[in-house]
Symmetry: C2
Subunit: 381 residues, 2 copies
Amino acid sequence: MVELKILKKSNECKARLGRLFTDHGEIDTPVFMPVGTNGTVKGLWQNQLESLQASIILGNAFHLYLRPGLDVLREFGGLHRFMSWQHSILTDSGGFQVFSLSDKKILEEGVKFRSPLDGSKIFMTPELSMEIQRAIGSDIAMAFDECVEPDASREYVEGSVGRTTRWARRCIEAHRGSGQALFGIVQGGFFEDLRERSAAEITSMDFNGFALGGLSVGEEFSVTTRILAHSVDLLPSDRARYLMGIGSPDIILAAVENGIDMFDCVLPTRMGRHGTALTWTGRVNLKAARNRFDRSPVDENCSCAVCSTYSRAYIHHLLSRDEMLGKILLSYHNISFLMNFVRELREAIAEERYMDFKTECLRNGLIGSNSLESFSSERMG
Amino acid sequence: MVELKILKKSNECKARLGRLFTDHGEIDTPVFMPVGTNGTVKGLWQNQLESLQASIILGNAFHLYLRPGLDVLREFGGLHRFMSWQHSILTDSGGFQVFSLSDKKILEEGVKFRSPLDGSKIFMTPELSMEIQRAIGSDIAMAFDECVEPDASREYVEGSVGRTTRWARRCIEAHRGSGQALFGIVQGGFFEDLRERSAAEITSMDFNGFALGGLSVGEEFSVTTRILAHSVDLLPSDRARYLMGIGSPDIILAAVENGIDMFDCVLPTRMGRHGTALTWTGRVNLKAARNRFDRSPVDENCSCAVCSTYSRAYIHHLLSRDEMLGKILLSYHNISFLMNFVRELREAIAEERYMDFKTECLRNGLIGSNSLESFSSERMG
């Protein structure tokens, strides 16, 4: 089971330090969780993730249900053994992925759609999602929720909040005896009062932690921060608080300031595959020709295995030849960057200088000029 | 400079043990050299190659001339520093790659063709090949030769052998003062007498080692072994002997038995990317559905980082989802397999049991059912 111990609350803001205890280890919070949708954090060996001190990674119920499938996962006794990962795993319920499909039918019972792999019919229900996550054997399972479109009407979101609550009850029922932790998900779009209603209903149930869903789905930064600042306080302070699908350093800063403990995102690996590096002074496009002769590391302020060995020019060359190693090195650096970023952020909270840390990060240009682009479609994996 | 010290000659066959000394270390021979065409052994970090005890890798003059280009290589003082590789590098002259292009014009002066990257006109000459390899700063440079088609007429091959000899003289001239070793390449197609003429002409020049070119270009196994058995004896025994483009364990066994010291091939990484593993009992197609539930390692007789951690089922899953890690793990295992294979082969020579070793390898099925397929198009990288 999963338990959160709060170690410290900031005097400056709502940020907090904690430790999550799972059957697979201890996790210092705030924590960034690298995403391994298909049971692999794209491009990295499991021992490389370990060397970066990743204490928990994400798997995805929807994708793992399609492949390798429940029969294989059960044969191996779960995802930990299947992918040879000794540390903690959290699984997304599949809600977000199912709702990203264009051709689906939402019923009270669940969601009907066709497999994007082979076109076969699938009927995803709260019960099936719990069954999948039980077979995966994740340390933390997520409730099956409905994630609405950013432009959904108030009327639609209202109906959806009710459905997500009823599904949450069915998840709790179906989940009994699994030995896993289960987190509830608060929805409600960008309507404060619907967020309040969803939070009241979801937090009234016996979940081990709570997530904010439906953010970072294409909306503007100011909307994300508005909902964030309003919604975190609606979650009980003695349980873990998880902001789903967030990996951009500037939103992480805002989330932690508001009291969020956990976040995940495909951003570091996806950006890495596309030739972009996260650095302390902003995003760097290593595909750009200006890197051809550049002997400096990806980030002067980083001492990861990539930055201490390889130059920008070499990585630029690899990317220009579409060599796997270019994507690999940038994915590794980007994960390393976020792990270090969150480690330094925890130290700043511990030393009561979080607001200074945040200001300095932003002053150094950490946001980067492309910041807003990060808000769309980062979560599909 | 490069020097070969012969440590032992087998009493059973023409196999020999040696040590090559370069400015970047010592190399035990027979040696398998992983291919890093574009300055990267596809999918592996340089420190992973080190952990597999790769003491020398290949670069390719033709590809590195196109990208990153001589200006970048000179800025970095050569490929070693550009790619952060501390050990030895041998460069292919570009001969084989140029001759693989369909649209080219072969003149006495050199070969005219268009860049496969941007269509620009290139005129590759022995002098340009030497200039490129000097900028790369490889420990061992190769002469610029003409590699003929496997179905070339006797008349054509005869003319080509003369051209390769004249080009070899120009290479030696252009190469003076570079501080690199230079190996000559014996051609002559599948005609024994032309091989003899080429060997006589090439070995009369002051090269630091000699290679057999024009093999493994699509011909049958029996032709390869016939030319091999005939040609190795034409090379001086006090210099390194290099069979170009060979990586299939069965041909390695035949090559070493005939007195070859060095070989290279893209086979381990190319097969890895396509889902095939090299094992002591033959090739294994991990894409096949029979691996879905298979908890065993890729090779029961291998203790590499892949085989000691991951199952066939997991790698099958990664390949079926086209995840980078599947290609990465198999590329690593395949390189590891060949490094171990050659290490055991050296031990067998040292202990005068090479012929038994060879027999046992073949009896265990090491050749695999696809052996012959390996003879075509393995060299382009």
